[in-house]
Symmetry: none
Subunit: 201 residues, 4 copies
């Protein structure tokens, strides 16, 4: 009954120290350079590690970078509960924007860019990204629907994309500002709709 003991029996175990050094070096390099300009060679050197060690554990630079991000960075995004879904969404969007425009968060844009050419990585990224995203926003949406603030005939995915899409679009294309004001306007417009109501001027 000693299964728990011999799970990874054979061979020298993976060096936690090396792994840490690699992930740290990766993040550190990403602070100064764009993802494309960060090379495996530089990471290996900075981490004091052989290149082969990196290739052994991560299939690509993108995978390594994503791993570095997910394990080191806790995407500190608020999931507030103010009693108003609209306010909650606004606060959350602001929080997200603050993260994505930070030195650290900027890399996510480069992830999206990166996996336009690396389908394997795209799957990986979607899994991690969407999951965390869904959880954060799902609660707010549900509460809003229950309280009767939000239409109940809207697909969850659709709502997600309506809220995040414009922000991501601006982040990637950079044609318009991405800040708190923008967040407020976006949420306002999405909530109230573009249609002119009879009661409006």
């Amino acid at each position: 009954m000693n299964d728990a003991k011999c799970c990874t029996c054979k061979g020298r175990p993976r060096s936690a120290q090396s792994e840490a050094a690699i992930l740290d070096a990766t993040l550190q390099l990403l602070e100064d350079k764009l993802l494309r300009h960060v090379t495996i060679e530089a990471i290996a050197q900075k981490a004091g590690v052989g290149k082969a060690t990196i290739y052994k554990w991560w299939p690509s630079k993108a995978a390594l970078t994503l791993d570095a991000f997910l394990t080191r960075t806790q995407m500190q995004v608020a999931a507030p509960d103010t009693g108003s879904a609209k306010v909650d969404f606004t606060e959350q969007l602001k929080s997200l924007i603050r993260f994505y425009t930070s030195k650290t968060g900027r890399v996510f844009c480069q992830f999206i860019a990166e996996f336009q050419i690396d389908l394997e990585f795209a799957d990986m990224f979607r899994t991690c990204f969407i999951t965390s995203r869904r959880n954060a926003v799902g609660v707010i949406l549900s509460r809003g629907v229950e309280r009767g603030e939000i239409r109940c005939d809207l697909d969850k995915d659709l709502v997600l994309d309506l809220i995040y899409g414009p922000m991501v679009y601006r982040l990637l294309v950079g044609h318009a500002p991405v800040n708190d004001t923008a967040a407020e306007h976006m949420i306002e417009a999405i909530f109230e709709g573009m249609r002119k109501r009879p009661d409006q001027v």
Copy 2:
């Protein structure tokens, strides 16, 4: 009878001829490969052109590709006028989606990816892209506002991003379908808003 002179086998090709060959080769290669995997070297060889000639006219691969696209491809996007702004937007979004998901249009996603690292190209792209976009959608929006269908207090840029953002987001991340149905749902939601109205069930 001056063809004979120009077409003499080993005759020095004219500048315009080279340019055409380069642009053609670029588009042709883009049909089979991802932007990242299309190399200047391959373009030069396929076009029967020296690499230096390419570098002389275009600052980067991205610039060349964009040029190839803008001069060869007319982005056939409808700008309908049905009398209803909502219908117009829906049709236009459907039309756009059809283009962006086509073999040719898919490259635009890769442009967006590409200029996450090439700021110079990003400017170039924004100028071309936004201009054409603004023209197409500006008319619809103006008509809608004039007819009293659409709120007049919305920023033009905001409207643009509300409509295109979710689509671009889905195109880039690929987490949800991008098709006619999606287009209809998006426009419907943006027009009517997420808020539950008293008259709704």
Copy 3:
């Protein structure tokens, strides 16, 4: 009919400067290190040249080294004509030994070692090596035969191997000295034969 003019018509010509730098660097490195420990990478760096440039013009390290040797080193081996074939052979063998035991000449042993594993290089080496060798010794042998000093029923190749074989053997295996005295003894023994003659003590 102007072959001489248009042999290498197109493109930037090969850089004589780079070639010289590569060959020089190769020889220089070989003075300090064994052939096996001289790396293409080191040659490229010392020559201030890209690795690709080396790989473009030489198929292997051995080929490069041999080229460096043949073009830079003139194997200064005497081909004396004293009137006695025996003396001529002795002098030539001494001369050869002096070369092969010099800092420069030692590399030839490593060539022989090298092409035990590189058959392509072996062919190359044999062609160059044997040719020069044959010419040097052929004259002495012919003169000796004509003068009636040497048996005329001996194969040229056989004579070559009888004279050079023992020396090469000692050079490679290093079990016995290779010097002037050895050269004299070898030639003496090969000329007179091992058989005890009636007139000997």
Copy 4:
């Protein structure tokens, strides 16, 4: 006086099974590949043994290979006694040639190549090689001298090199055939000498 038992006081003794597996694997790999292309890694894997075990007992690949050879292969070389030293030498040389040109014996050339760069191994090789060689040929030479067939003023080493040198030379350089006929011609020439005698035509 039972040394074998008490020399290594404590601990698990060396595994004879592993040693055998390593030596077998080494020989087996050498049948297909050149010495240079046989890697310690491959030997370890084929033998089902850790690399460290190999490094523990042999200082280098060359040492391991030589050990494998000396312990597994008995260099079956005839040491005939026909009453004629010339015939004895000829038969022995033929026998040697047969061995050195066999699949197994070919490796000796690679040993010679190998120790042009591994001085430590060179010593090891010389000790083993020369010793066995000396014994085999020493008897023939002594008998020949005693019977008055061979000059008594020749150094033993010199004779050895006169006989083996040309063969080794041809084996290594490969410029001329190495077979029975060559053996006969070599011995004949060495015995009779190159000098033209008055009694010759």
